[in-house]
Point group: D2
Chain length 330, copies 4
Amino acid sequence: MPEPTENPAELDRADAAGTVALSCETFRNWGRWGENDVKGTLNFLDDAKRAEAAGLVRRGVSFSLSQSFDMNGPQLGWRRRTNPVHTMLDTGTDAERGSQGFPHGLGGADDVIAMPLQCSTQWDGLGHIFDRGFAWNGRRAGDVVTSDGDLVTGIERVASDLIGRGVLLDLGRFAGTGGELPDGYAITTDELEACIAAQGESSRVGRGDMVLVRTGRLARARREGWNGYAGGPSAGLSFTTAGWLYRTEIAAIATDTWGFEVRPNEFDDAFQPLHQVAIPNIGLTIGEMWDLDALAEDCAADGRYDFLLAAPPLPITGAVGSPVNPLALK
Amino acid sequence: MPEPTENPAELDRADAAGTVALSCETFRNWGRWGENDVKGTLNFLDDAKRAEAAGLVRRGVSFSLSQSFDMNGPQLGWRRRTNPVHTMLDTGTDAERGSQGFPHGLGGADDVIAMPLQCSTQWDGLGHIFDRGFAWNGRRAGDVVTSDGDLVTGIERVASDLIGRGVLLDLGRFAGTGGELPDGYAITTDELEACIAAQGESSRVGRGDMVLVRTGRLARARREGWNGYAGGPSAGLSFTTAGWLYRTEIAAIATDTWGFEVRPNEFDDAFQPLHQVAIPNIGLTIGEMWDLDALAEDCAADGRYDFLLAAPPLPITGAVGSPVNPLALK
Amino acid sequence: MPEPTENPAELDRADAAGTVALSCETFRNWGRWGENDVKGTLNFLDDAKRAEAAGLVRRGVSFSLSQSFDMNGPQLGWRRRTNPVHTMLDTGTDAERGSQGFPHGLGGADDVIAMPLQCSTQWDGLGHIFDRGFAWNGRRAGDVVTSDGDLVTGIERVASDLIGRGVLLDLGRFAGTGGELPDGYAITTDELEACIAAQGESSRVGRGDMVLVRTGRLARARREGWNGYAGGPSAGLSFTTAGWLYRTEIAAIATDTWGFEVRPNEFDDAFQPLHQVAIPNIGLTIGEMWDLDALAEDCAADGRYDFLLAAPPLPITGAVGSPVNPLALK
Amino acid sequence: MPEPTENPAELDRADAAGTVALSCETFRNWGRWGENDVKGTLNFLDDAKRAEAAGLVRRGVSFSLSQSFDMNGPQLGWRRRTNPVHTMLDTGTDAERGSQGFPHGLGGADDVIAMPLQCSTQWDGLGHIFDRGFAWNGRRAGDVVTSDGDLVTGIERVASDLIGRGVLLDLGRFAGTGGELPDGYAITTDELEACIAAQGESSRVGRGDMVLVRTGRLARARREGWNGYAGGPSAGLSFTTAGWLYRTEIAAIATDTWGFEVRPNEFDDAFQPLHQVAIPNIGLTIGEMWDLDALAEDCAADGRYDFLLAAPPLPITGAVGSPVNPLALK
C-alpha cells in the first residue's frame, strides 16, 4: 500500500477520490477506543491533561474566542445556512409602557433564536461528515444520523469534555504578511512544525491538546467585509497535514476560518477533502470560525502560547455541531 | 426609611409592591461602576479571582452542569417558551443513499435549531427584568430592550466574564430529606450561612464568587417527571435573601430550579419578586435550570465545594439571556 | 385475489399488514395519469368542475374553514410538532416611542413565524405518507423526499389546483348526538351514502369534488378543551371506506379532526392505516383540522351542502404539507 | 387647508413630513365604520360583490398568483427578513431505509418552516404601518401591536374576507417597454385611469374591488436575477395616487413588486410614504410580491381583466401580515 504524501506538490490533483481514500484508510482510528466509542480523539484529553491545563493560568485573563451571533454574520443562505434570527418575546418598551400585566412593577424581556448550529463559532461533531457512507468508528451513516438527529455521536456525548490545554499556532503571524495568510494558502506539516519551533516551548503540541490555528482570515474579514468568508477561498490546512493531525494525537483543532482546510481545495474537483479524513476516520473534533485575534496579540506579547481552554458545546441532543463561546484563560 | 427584613415570617404578604420597592431601593447598585456600566456584579469577578479559581483544580475532573436541549424538556409553551426544535438540513441516511451530490465519497449532516434562549440551562442577562419601567443602572427599560433586542446590556457584553470560582451550596442535602427540599420551601439567609458553616472552609462565599444553590428540585423531576418544573411550585431563595445577595458581593448565582426564587412566592399576589431586586437593582447575573446533581455527589464525597467554573454564554447580540453549558473543573 | 371488505366487522384486527396491503394494491392509481404525474386525484378536478363550482354561489357569503394559528393550538410536541411560535421584528410600542428611526413619522410592525406545516388547518401533500418504501405513483420514497424536501410532489406542484366544488357531509349531525360523533366512531361507506341521501341533491359526490366530512370533534374540543385532539382518539373514516374514496373519484377530502381516519384505528397494532392506502396509492390529497362548524350551521339552515371551495396551499417548495385557510363561498 | 396634488411634478421633494401629513389627514377613514372597526376598506367588499365576482367565472381556469416560498427568494436579511427556512422532521429516505418505527409498512414525511410573514407573496395587515404613533382608526400604535402581536387588527380578523372581484391593471403592458416599467417609474392617477380605459369595460374599478397592478418588475427579476427586488429600486404607485386609492373605494390592492409604491420614493428623504397614508389612514389592505405574469398573459389574450379572486390569508393570531397563495379564477 502506498503512503500518503505530506508534500502538496506531490498530490495528484486529478485523483481526489483515490488520494482521499488512501488517507482515510491510513489514518483511521476505528476501533481504537472500542466499538461503542462516541468521542474519537477526545479520548486523548484526560483528567491529567485538564489538571495540567489549569496549572497554566497565571494572570487570570480571559479571552472569548467567539464571533458574535447575529444577522451581521457571514452566512449567505447556502444549503439553508442563514445568520441567526433573534427575536423578542417581550421587550423593555412594552414593560415601560405597562402593557405586560405583571404585578408590583415587575417587567420582563425574553427572546428566542432560530439558527443553523454552524452559523458562527462552532464545533463540528463526529456525525457531521461521512466517508463513502460511513461515519466515525465504521458505523453506517444511516444508522447514525437520521431526521431525528445524530442518534449515536450527538454533541451531547461530549458535554463535559472540551476543557483542557489549548495551544495557539499563529500561522498568520509566522508565515503571513501583516499577520495574514492569503486565500488559497495551504499550511503544511513543515510549517506547523516550524511555527511551533519559532513560537517556543509553550507551543509544543502533543497528545490531548486542543490546537488553535490562526490564519488571519477573520482579521481581514473584519477589516474588509465578509467577501466570501463563509464558503469562499481561504487559507487553511493542506490536505497533506492529515498525517500530522493523526500522529500528534491532538484532541481537537480549531481555526479562524469557515472551513478549517485550505480553499480552493488542492484537487481539481473536491469539497472539504480533509474533513473526510479527519472527522469520520481520525475521529477528530474540529472547530471553525473562531476569533483568535485578541488571544494572538496577547500570546505574541507575553510569549506564552498555551492556556486553559474551556469550550463547552451546548448539549443539544443529537446535534452534529454546536455553537460555542470558547474561553482561553491565561 | 425602614429596613428590609431577613425573616420571612415578618414579610407583609399583602404588600408586595411596598416590600419589593423597599428592597429594590435598599440594595441598589446603580452607578457603583459608573453610568455606562453593562456588567453589574460581574465587575466583582476580576482576574485575580480567576487565577485563584484555576488554582482550585486538583484532579482535572470536569462536570457539565447543563441539562439537555431537546423536545423532552420541561417547557409547556407558556409565554411562547417551547422546548427546542432541532431539525436536520442533511442526514446520514441521505449521505449513505448517495443523494447529496458531493464528490469523492464525501457526505455530510447539518442542522438548525429554533428555541427560546431560556428554555433549558441558562443565564439571565441584565436586560431580562425591569423594576417599575427601569433596567439595570437606572436606564429606562424602553431605552434598553426593544424589538431589536437589548441594545445596551446584551449578553454579548459579558462574553469573556463568566469564568471564575464556583461554590456549591447544597441546601437540598443540608436542609432537605433525601437530598431534596419540598416545593414552596423558602431558603433563608440563616440557612445559607448555616450550610456554608456545615460544608466547611471550601464553601466560604465572598466577593466575585459564583454561587450554585442546589435544592434537589431537578433530581425529583428526573425521578418523577417534570410536573410543573417550568413555572410551577419549587423550593428556592426566600425574598428575604436579597440583602445577603447584595452584601456578599457575589458575581453571579445559579440554581437547579426554573425560577431561582421560592415558588409560590411569599406574597399574596406576586411574580418573581426577588428577580425584581436582584437583576435590575443589584445587577446580579442569575443562572437557572442548572444540573448540579453529579457535582453535588462529588463535593459530598471529597468535601471540597469550590472549583473552577467556566460558564460562557453564547454571545448572541442583544440577547437578554443565553443557553449555557457550564463546566465545573475540580 | 380477495376483495377488501367495506364492513368494519369483517376486518381482521390482527392482520393490519395483510389487510392494508390488500387495500393498497386494490385501490392503486399508479400510472393512471402517466409516470410523471405529481397531482394524483387532483387530476379529476378540471376547469369544467371549477366553472360549475363558481355557479353554485348564490348569496356571496364566505366562510373561513381554518382554525387559528397560535400557541393556543392542540399540539403537544409529539414528533416535534409544536404550536406556531409567532414573534415580532418590530412593534407598535417601539413605533409609538419613536425608536425605529424611520423618517416623516412612519412606524412599522413586522413579524416571523416558526411552525410545523401541519400544526393547524392543513393539506397533506402526496409526499406525506409512504407505503412500504414507496411514494405516490410507485416512486421510491428516498427518490422523492430527502432532507431537501419533496423533490417531486412538493405542495407547490398543486398551487393553482385546489379550487372547485366542495360538498359538506355532516356526519356529526346525521349520525351523532348533539351534532357530534363519539371518539372511536368509524364512519362507514353505508353511512356516507346514507348521509348524502339524507342531506339531498346538493350533497351528491362525484368525480373531481372536494368532500368535507364533519364529525363534531372540533366542536367538542372548543367546548371542553383539546383533550387529545392532536393524536388522541376521535371519530373518523373507517379503514373500510378506502374503496369509496377510490370509486367516487373525488379530488380531495378533509375533516374536522387531527387524523382524518378513526382513532383508535381498527387494528390491534396500527398507525393511520387508511392514510397508507389513500395518499401513496389512491393519490388522494387529504385535509385535516378544518373548522367546519359555522359552514355546517349554514348548510343545515338553507339545505344546500355544496359550494365553491377555495383552499390554496402556500407553495412552499418541497413541502409535504401546507397550512391553509380554506374559504367556502355560498 | 391645501389639497394634496395628484401631479408628481408638483410634489415638494424636500417636505416629506408635511406632504405626507396632508395626505394622511385628507384621506383618513377613521371612524367611517365605527370606532371598533378592524377591517378598514375590506368593509367595501360585501356579499353582493362576492356573488358578482363568482359570476365572472367562464372557463374555470385557475391561476396561482404566488411566488414560491424557499431559500431562492429575494430576501437579503434586511431587518431580519430572511428567505423561508424549510426543514424536514421525517423523510422518505428514512422511511425507505426502515428506520421510522411505524407498523404495517407505513412511512411518513413531515416538515417545519421558519419565515418572516412578509418574505414572499403576502398581504400587509392593518397593523403593519403607523402614522406618527397611530394605527388604523386612530388607535395608539402601542395599544395595537406589542411583542404579543397585533392585539386588535391581527390578520385573523379578516380570515374570511379576501375573496371577491379582482381586476388586473397591466401597467407594464400599457405604459412599459416589453411589458415592463423601468425602476423609479411612478405610476400616476392619470395612467391608472388611462390603463382602465385602454383595457376596456372588464377593467372598471369601483367600490369593493381588489385591484392588481402589474409593473413587470417580477418578470425582469425572473429573467435577470433578483438584483434588489426586495428593497431596491422599482416602478410602483406614485405618492400622488393616494386620492385615487381613497376615492375609488377599492377593498384592497396588490402589485408584483416588493413595496407597492415607487422606489426610490418621490421625496429627498422618505421611506414608503404612500404606505403611511394607505394603511393606517385609508385602512387599505395591501398585497406585495404577487406573481401576475401568467394571469396578465391570459387577460391580454381574452380581453377580460376581471375575475374571481380568492386570496385568503393564514389566520395567524396577531399577525401584521400574512403569506398568501392568491388564486384568480376566470
